[in-house]
Amino acid sequence: MAGQSSGTESQVQLRQLRPSFSSRFKEFFIRHLQVFFYSLGLLSRTPFSTLLTAASLGIALALPAGLYVILDHAKQLSGDFDSINQISLFMKQDVSTQAIERLQKKLNAWPEIAQVKHIDRAAALKEFQENSGFGDALKALKANPLPHLLIVYPSLTHNEPEQINRLLADLKKLPEVDLVQLDIQWLQRLYAIIHIAQRGIFIIGALLALAVLLIIGNTIRLAIENRRSEIVVMKLIGATDSFIRRPFLYTGFWYGLFGSLIAILLVNLSLLMISNPLTHLSSLYNNSKLFSLGLMGVNTSLTLLVSGCVLGWLGARMAVGRHLKEIEPK
């Protein structure tokens, strides 16, 4: 290759020292591997400051990741919560038990409805006596004043407020039905709260994503500033921009990797810390698994790792791109 010509020739010419493609290809992986470990070595020479930077990244990454875990679980949970939505159909007094059972079958076939439960008049009175708090008072009743009751559970795919409203209208049109009742207020409140939570999480998530980019970019920028003289020297002896850029990009990569590892650690620690009160809460709903979050899944962890590395690389790319042109030998 060029540059390896022996020094004994009497005339040395200006050469285009651009190496041939084959030799570039041959050396490509070796060089990258070298820089890969060289940049790791540089970081390990200053373990304390590396840890500091990685920790700030870790915190910045941990927060959106933790929010994601909770949000993801909340989505599954909303199914359970929605079963709170139940519509009570009070039958007219004169409808026979057979007619009601036919109606129950018919409603069960509607796609909007997940399940229909029949509560017998007698059973309803008993339940009412037990649960209403008017127990003793109602024992004085001679005749059962209660009608038959059908409890309708809307299916999970039809529990948006407008869908529920449409279902209610349909149910009201049934000739057998005297009265339709739904705690629509509870539903509206739930949706309002979810709406706020979504917006809040969106704001926090956006802020934190920005923070990650800022912190990585800033760190790399300062690292470049710190190695300004090195860059100058490299340029002076004929290094190309991509050659100079490479160690910085790998540094960004390593920061991202370490940062996301710390983030995974933090998220799992936090999940463990809130698991006790969550179990307690779940037990209040007679369902010990209801709110349990467990640890971060393998998929989520991998996603976090990959996005950490990509963000690190990107932040470094942006910072290097901006600064490499500014730093010129004088």
Binding site: Q4, V12, V233, I237, K330
Partner: protein
């Protein structure tokens, strides 16, 4: 090899560091550049190495007008030059070996070749035993010699040196000058800025004299 055609250089500050310099250094020639402090010696060398650009006039290196060199091809041009800076420009977080090896690694030489050449270059400046040390642990003169080794390791076609013996004792200075002469013998074009008039008087080479940015005398030997 080096052609200065009516070159002037005015720094943003307002100083005219070089005014209307015309000067030709043929391929394989060797010359010394002298002049008082602030005469413009370093500026002239910086124009050749494209560290600064001319204000007016053209600099032509190996037939290539430096006006036409883009940011992208600049690195490849610089690889043809061995440059010794007044302030050494070493990397202080790398060993002497790594510093000298840098130009070879940039050009993509194999590790075996790198090792062989670096050892040869360090041997020439008498610093082979220091290859594992860091520059800060070297004396001023030793650092200067490391920068000389780095400039010649790549066997460049053109060697530029700015005050290469400023921190060396007279014996060593002569030795280094002899090293440059040996390079010149095998065809390398050499241009050296220096204050050491007594030394270069002995050496029987062309002397280019600058005064307040103007080329006054071109002594040909």
């Amino acid at each position: 090899m080096i052609l200065f055609d009516q070159v002037s250089k005015r720094y943003p500050g307002g100083n005219e560091a070089l005014s209307n310099v015309n000067f030709h250094l043929r391929q394989g020639e060797m010359a010394f550049l002298t002049g008082h402090s602030g005469a413009g010696k370093s500026t002239l060398l910086k124009l050749i190495a494209l560290i600064e650009r001319t204000t007016t006039g053209n600099v032509i290196i190996g037939g290539k007008n430096l006006h036409k060199v883009s940011r992208h091809t600049l690195p490849y041009l610089r690889r043809n030059m061995g440059i010794i800076f007044q302030d050494y420009q070493l990397l202080y977080d790398r060993t002497v070996f790594d510093n000298v090896a840098l130009p070879l690694i940039i050009s993509g030489f194999s590790s075996r070749e790198v090792k062989k050449r670096v050892h040869a270059a360090l041997d020439k400046v008498g610093l082979l035993r220091y290859e594992k040390k860091y520059p800060v642990t070297l004396s001023g003169g030793e650092q200067q010699r490391v920068s000389i080794a780095r400039a010649v390791v790549n066997k460049p076609a053109l060697l530029l040196a700015d005050e290469p013996t400023g921190n060396l004792d007279p014996d060593l200075s002569l030795e280094i000058m002899n090293l440059f002469m040996a390079f010149n013998q095998v065809g390398v074009t050499v241009l050296i800025a220096t204050h050491d008039i007594p030394l270069i008087k002995q050496l029987d080479k062309r002397i280019v004299h600058l005064e307040h940015g103007q080329l006054l005398t071109v002594e040909e030997n």
